[in-house]
Symmetry: C2
Subunit: 281 residues, 2 copies
C-alpha cells in the first residue's frame, strides 16, 4: 500500500514501512505489476505485485547470502542454474567464482530483467556476461526438461511460493531439481521469513527432506524483508559440509569467511522447532 | 503513527509496519506517552512516545543479546547495574547468572515498570526478585554518584539517545560508568540501527573509545526494530575476550553458545567502516 508518502506491505501483518520520495516507474507485465519507487532510506526499491523485492541499499545481504553460502561450500562450481532473480543480483555474485563456466538464468518475466538493467545497473551488472544464458520461461517446466546429473548448483531466487511460484516448493519440483544436479550438486532457495511464514518454511523443508538426502538451512537477514530474519534452505544428495572450498573473488559487502559458518548457526527456537531431528533418508 | 488499523513509526524513513487488533492502554507519564497495542503478528506491543519499544513475540532477541553477550564473557558477574529497561526483560536475563548477587535497575519512568508488570508478565517476571533494587531516577545522575570500582557490569537498555536519554552517549557519562566499574568490569549498551542511525552509532563509538581502553560491538537483530540489524557496544578497561566464561542457566530462545561468537562477527561493510582500525588508548 502506498499512502501519504509511505509504502508498506499490507498482505502480511508485519512488514517494512518506507518513506517514499517519488514513483519512478510502473507497468503491468504479462505476469505481475512492476514498480520502481524512490525511498528516502533505501534508495530505489522494486515492487512486484505490491511486494518489496529489493532495495538498492540492502540487496547485497540477500544476494550474497544465497550465492556464497551455497557456492563457497562446493569444491568446483561450473554449471549453475539461477531460478527467478531476473534483477541479476544473484547472477552477479555467482560470477565471483572463477570456476563458473555457464549460468542459466531462468526468469519467467522479461520485464524484471529489462527494468533492472535500466534502474538497478549495479545489481544487473553481470546480465550481459557471455557465460550467461537467459531463458525467459517457467522454471518448473524448464528444470523438468534439463539434462540429468549435469549441474553443480541450482539457486532458487524466486518470489514467495504464491501464484505462479507456488510449484517451486513442491515435491515434484524438488525431484526434478535433484535429478538435474550432479551427485555433489547443491540446491538452495530463499525460504521466507522465520517470523511470519513458518507454514511455508515448514512445507518447503518437509518436501525437500522427502527428496534430498541432506537438508540444512542458513539463517541470514534482509533488513527490509518482513521480520528481517530470513531463511534459506540448502539441499544435496551428498553430505552438506559448511567448510569453505571455493572462494569468491572481488568485494563482498556482507558475507565473509568468518560470518559464513555462523550463518549456519540457528537461534535456539529455530533449532528446537525444525532441526532437533535432522532426518536422513 | 496509528492509521487504518496499522501502526508504523514515522520519525525515521524506515520502520516496521504492524497490523493492529486494538489498543489496550494509553497514558501520559511524567516523561513520555506510554501505550500498549495488540498486534496480529507480534502480540502485545509497547510504545513510548510513539516509538516501538518491545513486542511480546520478539523481545527475547534484544534482551538475550544485551545480557548474554556481555555477562557470559565476564568470569564472575556479581554486581550489575541495568539502566532503563524498566520493562524487566534485561533484568530477567541477568538473573540467569548464578553468580549475580545484586542488580540495580535505574529506570527514570516508574510507569514503564508498572505497566510491564501488568501487561508483559513474562518480561517483568524478575522485577520482584529480592536481589533487585529498583531506583526510579535519572541514570546519568545515579551513575555519577555510585561507589567507585564496585560493579562487574553496567547494561544500558535505554531508549535512543534523544531527549532525556541523550546524555547516555556522552563522554561524561562514559567516564562515570568507567569509574563505577571494576578493572575487569564490562559496559554495554544498545547502540541503534546499523542502517539508519549511523550518526548516533558513530558518536557513541567515538566517545566510548575516548574513555574505555577496549571497545567492541555486537551486531544482532531485533526483527521489529527499524532495519532489524541492531548494534550493541561493549566496552571495558580490560581486554574484551569473547570466549564464554560464565553460563546462564535456564532456557534462552535466541542466544546460544554457537551463536554467541557469531554475534561479534561483523558484516564486511561494518568492519570496514567502523572497525578497520581499533584504537587502543
Amino acid at each position: 500500500m502506498l499512502k501519504n508518502g509511505w509504502f508498506f506491505e499490507d498482505d502480511m501483518p508485519l512488514g517494512v514501512a518506507l518513506q517514499i520520495k517519488d514513483s519512478i516507474y510502473s507497468s503491468k507485465s504479462k505476469y505481475q505489476k512492476v514498480e520502481i519507487l524512490n525511498s528516502f532510506a533505501m534508495g530505489k526499491i522494486m515492487l512486484l505485485d505490491d511486494k518489496l523485492m529489493l532495495t538498492e541499499k540492502d540487496e547485497f545481504y540477500y544476494h550474497e547470502t544465497i550465492a556464497h553460502t551455497s557456492l563457497s561450500i562446493h569444491p568446483n562450481p561450473k554449471k549453475v542454474i539461477v531460478i527467478g532473480g531476473g534483477d541479476g543480483g544473484t547472477v552477479r555474485e555467482v560470477f565471483k567464482y572463477k570456476s563458473v563456466e555457464e549460468v542459466e538464468l531462468v526468469e519467467i518475466d522479461e520485464e524484471v530483467i529489462n527494468i533492472s538493467k535500466k534502474y538497478f545497473p549495479d545489481v544487473a551488472s553481470e546480465l550481459e556476461n557471455p557465460k550467461l544464458k537467459i531463458k525467459v520461461t517457467d522454471a518448473i517446466e524448464y528444470v523438468k526438461n534439463v539434462k540429468e546429473s549435469s549441474y553443480d548448483a541450482i539457486l532458487c531466487d524466486s518470489t514467495d511460493p504464491q501464484g505462479f511460484a507456488r510449484g517451486l516448493i513442491s515435491k515434484d519440483f524438488y525431484k526434478n531439481a535433484s535429478r538435474a544436479l550432479k551427485e555433489d550438486g547443491i540446491y538452495t532457495c530463499q525460504s521466507g521469513s522465520m517470523i511470519i511464514q513458518e507454514k511455508e518454511f515448514k512445507t518447503a523443508l518437509e518436501n525437500m527432506r522427502s527428496i534430498f538426502k541432506y537438508v540444512d538451512s542458513v539463517i541470514s537477514i534482509v533488513p527490509t524483508y518482513p521480520g528481517s530474519l530470513w531463511s534459506f534452505l540448502i539441499a544435496s544428495n551428498s553430505p552438506i559440509d559448511k567448510k569453505i572450498k571455493s572462494k569468491p573473488f572481488g568485494k563482498t559487502r556482507y558475507w565473509n569467511e568468518n560470518l559464513h559458518e555462523k550463518l549456519f548457526e540457528k537461534p535456539n527456537w529455530i533449532k528446537e522447532k525444525y532441526f532437533s531431528l535432522q532426518p536422513v533418508k
